[in-house]
C-alpha cells in the first residue's frame, strides 16, 4: 500500500471552474498582492497536496512550532517554514486577497493572521547559520517584514513547459496502485544522471517494488544543468538501462532552500505525499557549501519516528578499479588509491570541453544527450 498522505489526508485546494470564473471576474474587488516565483510554486504545491497537510501559508503558532520544534502545532513533523512575506500591510486580517505572480492571479488567500518574525532567529533555526552568503539565509534576509498566514485556493498555475512530465500526488498514487507497487522508493535530483546516481537508485530499487525518480525543476543557479537537459538525459537512461515496469519519472517544481538536514526531512514528506514509502538520502542532502556535515541529515531522521516514510541512507558511491564497478565505502575493502570519485564539477568541465567522460562515470547515451544541447548549463 502506498504511503498515507502526511497528516492523514491528501489536501487539494483547487476551486471548481465556475467559482474560479466568478473570482476572476471580481478580481478588482480584492486587494492585490504581488508574490515572487518561489511563492507561486509553493502555492501550487499546497494546492496539489505536495505539502499536505498544509492548506495555506503558516500562521504564527505553526510557524513558531516549526521553527523551534520542527513540528506543526498539532505535533505533525514539519521542518521548513512555508511562509508568505509582504513588505507592506495593505490589507487586514479577515480579508480575502488575490496573490499575483506578474500579471497572473495565482490564488485567493483568506488572511487569518499578519505577524512579524526575527529574521536572524528564523535563519539560525532553519539554516543553522545567519551567514548572508548562504542562499537560504539571503532569501530570508530579503523577505518583507510581515508574514501572512491563512488558507489558499489555487486559481491559475504558472506556465509549465514540462507539463508532459508533471504528475501530482493524486496521479502518482493512482499510477503506483495501477502498477501494483506496494513499496516505492523516491529519488530527488537536480542533476543529469551519472553512474553514481544510477548505482544508488538501482541499489535502492533492489529492495522495493518501484523506483520514482522525481527531478526538481525551477529556478537554478549559474552552472546548474538546464531543466530540459535533465529530463532528456533521464528519458534516455530509462530507455536503455531501466526496467519499464519498475521505474518511473515525473518532475516537481520546487524552490530549493538549501537547508540541509531540515530540508531532507521536508523532501521526504513531499515524496510521502506522492505515495512513496521510502526516500533515498545521500551525502550532504540539500546542502550547500560546508554548512552541514556530509551525513548530518541522516541523524535528524532519528528524531522523527512518526515521519511515515522510511529513509534509505546510501553512502557516496565511487568506482573501484579493483572491484571493477561502482561501490561504496561500506562494501569496498580497497584503498583510496583504487577509487575514482565522480565529481559533478569534473564532469561539467569535461562536458564543456567536449571530452567524453569514461563509461564508468557517465553512460555514453547520456553524454550524447547533454552534448546535443548548445548550452546545457544555466548561464
Amino acid at each position: 500500500m502506498v504511503s498515507k498522505p502526511h497528516g492523514g489526508k491528501l489536501i487539494r485546494r483547487l476551486v471548481a471552474d465556475r467559482t474560479r470564473e466568478r473570482i476572476l471576474s471580481e478580481q478588482k474587488e480584492y486587494p492585490r498582492v504581488q508574490i515572487d516565483h518561489g511563492r507561486a510554486v509553493d502555492l501550487e504545491n499546497i494546492a496539489h497536496g505536495i505539502y499536505s497537510p498544509l492548506k495555506g501559508f503558516l500562521t504564527s503558532d505553526d510557524f513558531e512550532s516549526v521553527l523551534h520544534h520542527m513540528r506543526l502545532s498539532d505535533d505533525t513533523p514539519w521542518t521548513i517554514p512555508i511562509v508568505l512575506d509582504v513588505r507592506e500591510k495593505t490589507f487586514d486580517e479577515g480579508d480575502a486577497i488575490l496573490l499575483y505572480y506578474e500579471n497572473l492571479p495565482i490564488a485567493r488567500m483568506h488572511v487569518e493572521e499578519i505577524y512579524t518574525t526575527d529574521k536572524k532567529e528564523f535563519a539560525v533555526n532553519v539554516f543553522k547559520t545567519d551567514d548572508p552568503a548562504h542562499p537560504g539565509v539571503a532569501r530570508v534576509m530579503e523577505m518583507g517584514d510581515y508574514l501572512v498566514g491563512g488558507e489558499i485556493e489555487l486559481l491559475n498555475e504558472l506556465p509549465n513547459p514540462f507539463a508532459r512530465y508533471t504528475l501530482r500526488p493524486v496521479e502518482t498514487r493512482i499510477l503506483f496502485k495501477e502498477r501494483g507497487w506496494k513499496t516505492i522508493v523516491a529519488f530527488q535530483t537536480r542533476n543529469v544522471p551519472h553512474l553514481g546516481h544510477e548505482y544508488v537508485q538501482k541499489a535502492a530499487l533492489t529492495f522495493v517494488d518501484g523506483l520514482f525518480i522525481n527531478p526538481v525543476l525551477g529556478r537554478k543557479k549559474k552552472g546548474d544543468y538546464r531543466d530540459e537537459v535533465i529530463i532528456k538525459a533521464y528519458e534516455t537512461l530509462f530507455e536503455h538501462y531501466y526496467p519499464k515496469d519498475a521505474a518511473t519519472l515525473a518532475t516537481v517544481r520546487y524552490e530549493m532552500r538549501y537547508a540541509g538536514p531540515r530540508e531532507a526531512i521536508h523532501h521526504a514528506i513531499m515524496r510521502k505525499n506522492f505515495g512513496a514509502t521510502h526516500f533515498i538520502v545521500g551525502r550532504d542532502h540539500a546542502g550547500v557549501g560546508d554548512y552541514y556535515g556530509p551525513y548530518e541529515a541522516w541523524d535528524l531522521f532519528d528524531e522523527f519516528p512518526d515521519l511515515g516514510i522510511t529513509p534509505m541512507f546510501i553512502r557516496e558511491s565511487f568506482y573501484c578499479k579493483k572491484c571493477g564497478g561502482m561501490v561504496n565505502a561500506k562494501i569496498c575493502p580497497h584503498d583510496e588509491e583504487f577509487h575514482i570519485h565522480i565529481s559533478g564539477t569534473k564532469l561539467r568541465k569535461m562536458i564543456l570541453s567536449g571530452e567524453q567522460p569514461p563509461e564508468y562515470m557517465m553512460r555514453p547515451e547520456v553524454f550524447e544527450v547533454v552534448r546535443s544541447f548548445e548550452k546545457p548549463f544555466v548561464e
Binding site: 498522505p5 532567529e121 493524486v170 493512482i174 495501477e178 518511473t248 512518526d306 515521519l307 511515515g308
Partner: protein
Amino acid sequence: MEEERKYTTVSIPKPLYDKIKKRIEGTGFTSVSDYVTYVLREVLASLEEEEREEVFTEEEEEKVKERLRALGYLD
C-alpha cells in the same frame, strides 16, 4: 527567544518509570518524558498507517487514469 511548548502530565506506574529511566542511560534520550514521547509518536504513527487508505471517487480515478494513459505512464 525560544517559544515555550505546552506540556501536560500523564501518570505511569513508578516501576515502569524506573525501568525506562534505567533503559535510557547512555542513550541520546535525556529524560523519561523524551523517551515516552518518542515511543508514543512511533506507536500512533504505525496505528494510523494501518488505517484505511484514501479512496478516490470512481469518476476521479478514471479521469486520472485517462491522463496517465495519454502521457504514456499507463498502457
